[in-house]
């Protein structure tokens, strides 16, 4: 029983960085911008967050620094692709490669440094419940916050006028422009907001989840977050579930091994990716699902008056 509780706890904590970054990318993509630079953005934010946590000892200052670093990298990316109309695919990959090199370079002095210990308070009273306390209520506050963020983004997309405008720009920027909406500014805003979330995700990785810094710490989680947006057919709630599914499968294989259940670890490592392919095939079989959910102008540059 206790092992299942620990597995649930590990799943929530492993899914959180994926969900944060995935929600950030969702904001980008719903506005029509595909940001393949997520991995690099997260690495830069991870080192920024770690450095701030190291010098100030404050986790929340570290999240702020991670968010800021993410916003800066994303703003640079946004300026290139939204204002200068560079190819989004190539620019995103360049940002990713840049981020991995840059973070390794500036992070050299922080390799092997220790962060001060932070007790995780959990939820008062509920944390002492049998089973559920261990499984759900002894997590870092960010684990709960990400659920609120998913709710907020969902509400923003489907219940607010601004969200409708954002989605309209992702679908058809030309009519939106004709109606007088500042397409480029809104896209840039979405990219920066997405960068903030990717940044907080990076800082969560280096400060809370794996409290240490080494080059390449993010280890591909930015790419998984990108896959998650497609997996979730661009819906925030599904994205959250997808993040827990991905995190859960990874954790499940490690915990199964430790508890002596014989499952080939190679098979389990493959499972999240295999399930992505399956979901992709399923949703692509149904043109309606794709057409209804995929932002129609995703990845396409917009030229006002062009």
């Amino acid at each position: 029983m206790n092992e299942i509780a620990l597995l649930v706890a590990a799943t929530l904590s492993a899914g959180t960085p994926l969900a944060l970054a995935g929600l950030g990318l969702l904001l980008n993509e719903r506005a029509g911008v595909l940001n393949l630079g997520a991995e690099g953005t997260m690495l830069v934010s991870a080192v920024a967050g770690f450095a701030v946590a190291f010098h100030t000892g404050s986790e929340w200052a570290a999240f702020a620094a991670g968010g800021l670093a993410g916003a800066l990298v994303a703003a640079f990316f946004g300026w290139l692709v939204v204002w200068l109309n560079t190819n989004q695919y190539a620019t995103g990959l360049a940002v990713s490669l840049f981020g991995s090199g840059f973070s390794a370079f500036v992070g050299l002095d922080y390799v092997g440094k220790q962060l001060p210990e932070h007790a995780v308070p959990g939820v008062p009273l509920l944390r002492d419940l049998p089973f559920l306390g261990v499984a759900l209520f002894r997590q870092h506050p960010m684990v709960y916050l990400v659920i609120a963020v998913a709710g907020a983004i969902s509400w923003f997309f489907y219940r607010t006028r601004a969200g409708l405008v954002l989605r309209a720009i992702g679908e058809a920027p030309v009519p939106a422009h004709a109606l007088g909406y500042p397409v480029r500014n809104i896209r840039l805003g979405a990219v920066v907001a997405g960068g903030v979330l990717c940044g907080v995700s990076g800082a969560y990785l280096s400060v809370v989840y794996t409290p240490l810094w080494v080059a390449g710490l993010v280890a591909g989680r930015g790419w998984i977050a990108l896959a998650l947006t497609v997996f979730a057919t661009w819906r925030p709630a599904r994205l959250l579930l997808g993040a827990y599914l991905f995190g859960g499968v990874t954790m499940l294989q490690l915990h199964l091994q430790a508890s002596g259940v014989q499952v080939p670890p190679q098979f389990m490592s493959m499972l999240p990716y295999a399930s992505t392919v399956v979901v992709l095939v399923l949703i692509s079989r149904n043109p309606l699902w794709i057409r209804l959910n995929m932002p129609a102008s995703l990845g396409k540059p917009f030229f006002p008056g062009g």
Binding site: A90, L97, V111, A215, A219, L254, Q257, A258, G260, I290
Partner: protein, 380 residues
């Protein structure tokens, strides 16, 4: 955007990614590697030039770092008789060949390639330059002017096991493993046998992470082992994550490849470190003295290549004495990590009484010894 043009874009992205990776791989291996050691003002006999290539960055605090310490050690010992150069972060594969040719073109007479994946590049270049000496770590292909060298990692794991067996309170050890290849399986078994030599009740749990380097995953694996009751951990992966996870959880762990004591002052029970320098000094001396011959070198505790270093003060003297005893035994040749009979965890005899664990046997280890829980993945 319709589906087809989206796919086209993704395909374009993949091409750009591939191009980007190639370009970046090239950038990472500078065409003119900076001489690392100070160039000695040419003494009468021309100094011997030696070039090293590493697969990782020297700042990885692990494998490549240990090789670079070895290079510095040999350079210091031999003084102005040698000039050494290195190139780091060389991708295994075709790019390595270019870097090796480059080093030869710069006048290096000895080339050390320090990762398994450089093997075929070394074989190719060695054929073209018969007057240059080639040294390849952990490979198995040799030629007239190409020889291989390897460290007996598992002897360090065995010494670590002795400390672990004495320090565990739950009699459960944890091992974070990378890939089920003989080298890693040897280390898991040696760690367990070392622990059993002082504490027969010990069992070892293994978690495979399927990567040499993935700090978050290594951390989770360490965590899941500790959840399962393991209180002393060893890893055959390249980062310090496992050690640092043990530090946070108040458990014990070891450093691997190089001295990692600084990363976890409370958890660190010692580092199974590699001292490549003793071999580098010997190899360069062979060339200087014109006694270089091709062959295979496998060095361990006896030659000073592997050892358990920096055992902290809080480890009882009695435990350290046990380690000293085993170290002396390994040095004198009176102790072998794998002594017949070796029985695997299904009860099958893998090394019959009277047989000796030679290099061929060691190179084909594909089982868990008694005391390791579970089954080797993929049935190998």
């Amino acid at each position: 955007m319709d589906k087809r043009s989206f796919l086209k874009q993704v395909a374009l992205g993949a091409v750009v990614l591939a191009a980007g990776l190639t370009a970046c791989g090239k950038k990472e291996a500078p065409p003119a590697p900076a001489p690392a050691a100070a160039q000695a003002p040419a003494p009468k006999p021309e100094p011997l030039k030696a070039g090293f290539i590493y697969v990782g960055p020297v700042g990885d605090a692990g494998y490549s770092y240990a090789h670079d310490l070895g290079r510095k050690y040999a350079a210091e010992k031999l003084g102005d008789k040698v000039v050494t150069t290195f190139v780091e972060k060389v991708a295994e594969g075709p790019d390595a060949e270019r870097v090796i040719r480059d080093l030869v073109a710069q006048g290096n007479k000895v080339i050390f390639a320090t990762s398994f994946g450089f093997m075929d590049s070394m074989v190719k270049v060695a054929k073209d330059f018969p007057d240059v000496y080639f040294e390849h770590a952990t490979g198995y292909k040799t030629a007239e002017n190409l020889r291989v060298y390897e460290a007996r990692f598992h002897e360090g794991a065995y010494l670590a096991g002795i400390v672990a067996g004495k320090m565990t309170k739950t009699n459960t050890l944890g091992f974070v493993a990378s890939f089920p290849i003989p080298e890693v399986l040897r280390n898991i078994n040696a760690f367990t046998l070392g622990a059993q030599s002082v504490n027969p009740k010990v069992k070892t749990k293994v978690v495979w992470v399927g990567a040499w380097f993935d700090p978050p995953k290594e951390t989770e694996a360490a965590q899941s082992l500790m959840n399962g009751g393991a209180d002393v951990l060893l890893q055959n992966t390249d980062s310090t994550a496992v050690l640092q996870a043990a530090e946070r959880a108040g458990k014990y762990a070891f450093g691997w490849d190089s001295d990692m004591s600084a990363f976890a002052p409370k958890a660190h029970l010692g580092s199974a470190a590699l001292t490549w320098g003793v071999y580098y000094e010997k190899a360069l001396n062979d060339v200087l003295n014109k006694t270089w011959k091709t062959g295979e070198t496998k060095w361990g505790v006896k030659e000073g290549m592997t050892d358990l270093v920096k055992i902290p003060d809080f480890v009882p003297a009695e435990v350290k004495a046990k380690v000293d005893e085993a170290r002396a035994g390994l040095k004198a040749g009176t102790l072998a990590v794998f002594t017949a009979p070796v029985v695997d965890n299904t009860g099958k005899v893998q090394l019959a009484k009277g047989a000796v664990a030679d290099d061929k046997w060691l190179g084909a280890v594909n089982f868990y010894v008694k005391g390791v829980e579970g089954k080797v993945p993929a049935g190998k």
